[in-house]
Amino acid sequence: MDPALFAQHLLNGVMLGVIYALVAVGFTLFFGVLDVIKFSHGDVVMLGAFTALATSIAASAAGLSSPVILAAMLLAAIVGMALVGMLMARYLVLPLRNAPTLNVLLVTLMAGTVIREGVRLFYPQGSNPKPFPRLLPTGAFEFGAFTLRHDSIVLLVLGVGAIVFVHLLIVRTRLGLAIRAVAQDPETASAMGIPFRGTVLATFAIGSALAALAGVVNGLYYSEVSFNMGLLLGAIGFSAAVIGGLGNVYGAILGGFVFAALQTIGAVALPFASAYKDVFAFGVVILLMAWKPGGLLAERSAERV
């Protein structure tokens, strides 16, 4: 294969990987602290994208410039989804703490459907795909068959920056220490004076804020959002978190990139039609899970999150 073309596919895969990783980190954070799977996560991604879209429409109606609109929509989406995440944790997940985990899974699955159908019904013409504003520079560097768009660079920096930020937050701050402590052993952590509920709410806020960012990055990258975009993204993000090792943040990031790579290989390198790329990617995920049931970077019981 032409090296320029190879580089292009690699870049496409990395862009996908960043979006998947942002979603997967949320899944793994929630599982880490509470051992729950929050199935509405993909729909929170979608809600974040629509919050950003609505904010940008309002902001451009107010006559603001592109960078200001961008900042406003990022802020609105991230703060908004952090709040949604906390509300879900407080009223849906925590009350079911002592119920079977299956109940949490079901409740969040239903919450996701409510969010999805809510956007479809209440956003004007919500069933139709919506154009997402193009706020980033539109130029590109061309090297033969390889095109590096300026907006891709910005999105890549934004996505990787967010992941590094979460890493530092968990490793370097007192809040991160609290999250790690609660993940390891909630009872002992509480006994040591770490507020259990506050830590859980903070974790859900962080995970949901990342989902909002994933939604905005997704919208800016594809210039289009739709009410059901969260369904597949949720399934992929969850799979990525599982192949990486649920509960391990680095595993989720790795899983995101592995899944993106599988999809790209499925569409490009396999002789049969691209229609089977998801079949191929999810098929390999099944094999990986059979080979390493705990994930590529399985969480060690002594060190979670």
Binding site: L5, P129, N218, Q263, A267, S274, D278
Partner: protein, 405 residues
């Protein structure tokens, strides 16, 4: 607050006016009796019942209501015609565009001995489920809107006729038209539903017959978000046209990402993307997108002017939509057959089978060996200035705007 006691009840409750005490109303009654008597004398004709089936509720109900009104209009005009041998009654049934509901209402219509024929279905999936029912009960049916070829071609039921075209005709026109525009190299993206696969199959067939070249075919799932891998490969193949077989949401995504990944080619779609949502979802990127659809806007039809005038006169609250004239033509076709051979299902069926060069508002109707209208109408569309325009009316056809080269 004071409680309600029996004393609060008004002494007399308002009653219906007593006709004995009201001379006006007894006159009205007498008039009514006279009217009824003359009406029954006038309608010494036998009444023939025809069923109309379409989606009257749900997401595509606009099309179903337009079809129902149009069929109703045909019946109304016929009943006003003193030369008609029978008087007609339309029984409208709602299939909700759901196969299971469709089979229920089709059975209801077919089991009713008084129903002589039916004008049925806008949704292909429903028609696929009900054709067996009509065949079993021997009820002659004329399809007015569903486009899947298999409805007429996958069976040999003498009861099933269709006045509108299919995706076969659509793709034949599409291939011929695009080759005539001097395009040579295509890449095909289609969704992997029956709809997308069918379009891919027929378009590829006609494109090759007409000398176009297919550089690559990419099947994609109907909910796919990312097309970077496919489009990067397509970019390398350097096609002049990207043919897309699928519906609006995916079409918006692919057209939008073509721009992102720098694929410069004409975007050619099917009837599935001809919607306001497509143009709204893409904004300026929709410009110059071409697509094809069975049927034609009413004003472009041979009898469109007459149809539009009559439809306006009837003052329905919903527009006829694209397939209204076809429902109108189908209802007239059925009533003409009844006029000729009488209200007998078998005779009507045989009469419909023989339809050849029948004049209707949608043009001539001639059925082939599968009772499919062989002279279907396909209209070419292009997006210009944020609107779907009929190609012939666009600045593209006039040469004022060029398609992508």
């Amino acid at each position: 607050m004071r409680g309600l006691t029996p004393l609060d009840v008004p002494p007399t409750l308002p009653t219906v006016p007593d006709p004995e005490k009201n001379p006006m109303s007894s006159i009205a009654r007498a008039l009514l009796v006279v009217l009824l008597a003359t009406a029954s004398v006038a309608s010494a004709k036998d009444t023939v019942r025809i069923a109309f089936i379409g989606p009257l509720t749900g997401g595509v109900s606009a099309n179903g209501l337009g079809g129902r009104n149009s069929a109703q209009l045909a019946v109304k005009l016929r009943n006003a015609d003193p030369k008609a041998k029978y008087s007609y009654e339309l029984m409208a049934l709602d299939d909700e565009c759901k196969p299971n509901v469709g089979v229920q209402v089709a059975t209801k219509a077919a089991a009713d001995k008084n129903v002589i024929a039916a004008v049925a279905h806008y949704c292909s999936t429903v028609a696929m489920g009900t054709v067996d029912v009509y065949h079993r009960f021997g009820l002659p049916v004329v399809i007015w809107g569903a486009v899947l070829p298999d409805i007429t071609y996958a069976n040999d039921f003498k009861e099933i006729h269709r006045v509108n075209g299919t995706m076969i005709n659509q793709n034949e026109t599409a291939a011929k038209f695009m080759v005539a525009q001097k395009y040579k190299r295509w890449a095909i993206i289609h969704d992997t539903t029956d709809y997308g696969k069918g379009h891919n199959r027929y378009f590829a067939e006609y494109l090759q017959k007409n000398g176009g070249q297919i550089l690559g075919t990419f099947g994609v799932t109907a909910d796919q978000q990312d097309f970077s891998a496919e489009l990067t490969r397509i970019k390398e193949l350097k096609p002049e046209v990207i043919y897309f077989g699928g519906i609006t949401p995916l079409g918006v995504r692919i057209r939008s990402q073509m721009d992102k990944f720098g694929v410069k080619a004409v975007f050619q779609g099917t009837s599935g993307i001809i919607s306001d949502a497509f143009v709204e979802g893409l904004g300026p990127l929709a410009e110059g997108v071409v697509a094809f659809r069975e049927g034609a806007p009413a004003e472009k039809l041979p009898g469109g002017k007459y149809f539009n005038e009559q439809y306006a006169k009837a003052a329905y609250s919903d527009p006829p939509e694209a397939y209204g004239p076809f429902a109108f033509a189908a209802a007239n076709l059925v009533m003409d057959a009844v006029e000729k051979v009488g209200p007998d299902r078998k005779k009507v069926r045989n009469e419909l089978n023989r339809t050849h060069d029948y004049d209707s508002v949608v043009g001539k109707i001639s059925f082939d060996d599968h009772r499919q209208n062989a002279v279907p109408l396909i209209t070419k569309f292009v997006v210009q200035g944020g609107k779907w325009l009929v190609w012939e009316d666009s600045e593209y056809a006039a040469g004022k705007r060029p398609l992508v080269r």
